[in-house]
Amino acid sequence: MAVCIAVIAKENYPLYIRSVPTQNELKFHYTVHTSLDVVEEKISAVGKSLGDQRELYLGLLYPTEDYKVYGYVTNSKVKFVIVVDSSNTSLRDNEIRSMFRKLHNSFTDVMCNPFHNPGDPIQSKAFDGIVSGMMVQTG
């Protein structure tokens, strides 16, 4: 379960960002913003290191004291960032991967919606629903 989920356009501005609890929003915005540098680094490191550089899932970007930040980039250079609580050790890599896949699927649906203009903030209720399903529930 995530505490923050963000979708960033290829020009590096946010298309969608949601965090729980909402008082800490600014801090999450900052965390996501700094994670973009790590994403850029990973994307441009093609051929320099071993391993599957062609994968969309980027893995753990960086851990902070309280949080772990994961990244994923689509072929259209849209980035997804998921922030989870560090204390949540039960969350495995596979689960994070499947969260990203769900996000990607829902995002693709948003892109194909003729009423959505690419580059605009995402306002789809369906997308909201998918994200809600992945976020930590507050009482």
Partner: protein, 168 residues
């Protein structure tokens, strides 16, 4: 990995028919029909652009990241073209400096027009949407381009992709 899309019956014909109708509609609803040719072509091209953006998002959802521009062009020629026109591009040539020429010897959307040179002047209308489609797909993959198409003899179509990199 090959693209596996669910097989639907007769999904090719409806698109061709719809495409022809869209062209008809745009030309008859414009006040001066033929004299607004440029504007109508632009409308068609922009339609194709938006569809291309969405389509490429769906098609590249499960593919690996592209290595380089040539990789992207090959994807357009094989997977993308197959998805939309049920066949691959017949020939791809490049000057390795940003210009790519894709050749389709039997362009599906021109199939309804008689083979030969009689309706050559009508051909641009039927190519506009597809040019936009390719431009939209490339744009969403991060490639800024200008796509134009030529027909010398129906139904062969030679879209010419000019990729212009904006540098300062």
């Amino acid at each position: 990995p090959s693209l596996h899309l669910p097989r639907r019956m007769a999904d090719e014909a409806p698109f061709q028919i719809l495409h022809n109708e869209v062209i008809q509609y745009i030309y008859t609803s414009a006040e001066n029909g033929e004299t607004e040719n440029g504007r109508n072509i632009t409308k068609l091209e922009n339609m194709g652009f938006r569809v291309g953006q969405g389509l490429i998002e769906r098609l590249t959802k499960d593919t690996a990241r592209f290595k380089d521009e040539l990789d992207i062009m090959k994807f357009i020629c094989k997977d993308f073209w197959t998805c939309v026109f049920k066949k691959q591009i017949d020939n791809l040539r490049t000057n390795h400096q940003g210009i790519y020429v894709l050749q389709d010897n039997k362009f599906r959307l021109l199939g309804q027009l008689s083979a030969g040179k009689q309706y050559l002047d009508q051909a641009p209308k039927y190519l506009a949407f597809t040019c936009g489609l390719v431009r939209g797909a490339l744009s969403n993959l991060g490639v800024k381009s200008i796509v134009t198409a030529e027909v010398s003899i129906m139904p062969a179509c030679k879209p010419l992709v000019i990729h212009r990199q904006v540098t300062y």
